[in-house]
Amino acid sequence: MAKTYDYLFKLLLIGDSGVGKTCVLFRFSDDSFNNSFISTIGIDFKIRTIELDGKKIKLQIWDTAGQERFRTITTAYYRGAMGIILVYDITNERSFENIKNWIRNIEEHAASDVERMIIGNKCDIEERREVSRDRGEQLAIEYGTKFLETSAKANLNIDEAFFTLARDIKSKMEQNEMRAGGSVSNSGRVNVGGSGTQKKSFFSNWSCTLL
């Protein structure tokens, strides 16, 4: 079968346990039923399809749930990863402090050119915030990564996080291709405008279940 996409990116979500999984699947919960089957066994990975600058991109996104202790995550897990989203919970100081440990783990075990991004996820109410936005930004600056605060409930910035990371990987790949291919007819700059046309949330239910 003909290839029906332009790029395939493998992304990983890492971070402490509980940075989002506590507020799973609101839309299914009612008095007599729950979606206990799926939430109990958990999701290994997802395939999402997005479009960036007219290119169709398949994202294969892996969650670390069940093996959240960074010591247990080693080279095999990172193999082939092109992007890593580091997640902490803004209502959990410890999860924020552990981002440094996670980054150390990445530097030890992942490819050196992997794209990284830090996300402060808010699965709970603002009044319980323990980590200021400023501290999140400072940490991102320190490690030279992008930073976003996301909210699953408000469906805020989740899509943007994935789009941003995918766009960064795509730009890097295209630059590498150009370098490899030699002849470059355009300026080498990549148009990164396109994602605003998305009508619908691609990742609206993610931060609870996977982040």
Binding site: G42, I47, R48, T49
Partner: protein, 141 residues
């Protein structure tokens, strides 16, 4: 059962389509785009699958009653099969439960909408747990 009746001319008159117990797998693609019943996200575009499995399989119910210690299931018949996981637009793969992995909507995680055959690693998705993309929506991403 083992008689080679297929070679007899009369055998070809049989309506083979009705013999659901034999040759349950046939080469066939999904002629319609399948979307999640809950959030209408595209799970798989049309013409992406390669076979049709006309058999029943037990699938866990999307909603389980609380306070029950076993997984409630129901028999669901009919699955489109595809080997390549990247044939899907938006899908989630669960972790293994009693040796089986299941497919769910990649957006809202509704499901299971199918399963992975542990031996062949074919991915089977059932239209019974999905909606068909309506013509008016066609062309949208």
């Amino acid at each position: 059962m083992s008689s080679s009746s297929l070679s007899l001319p009369s055998a070809s008159m049989k309506p083979l389509e009705k013999e659901e117990n034999n040759g349950a797998v046939e080469a066939k693609t999904n002629e319609e785009t399948l979307v999640c019943k809950i959030c209408q996200t595209v799970v798989i575009l049309k013409n992406m699958t390669t076979e049709w499995l006309n058999e029943e399989r037990e699938l866990p119910l999307p909603r389980q009653k609380k306070g029950i210690d076993h997984t409630q299931t129901e028999p669901v018949r009919g699955y489109f099969g595809v080997k390549d996981i990247f044939a899907f637009e938006n899908v989630g793969f669960t972790r293994s439960s009693e040796g089986k992995r299941f497919l769910v909507c990649g957006e809202c995680e509704q499901g299971p909408v199918g399963y992975v055959d542990p031996e062949t690693e074919m991915n089977y998705v059932t239209p019974e747990r999905l909606d068909v993309l309506q013509a008016s929506q066609d062309g949208k991403n």
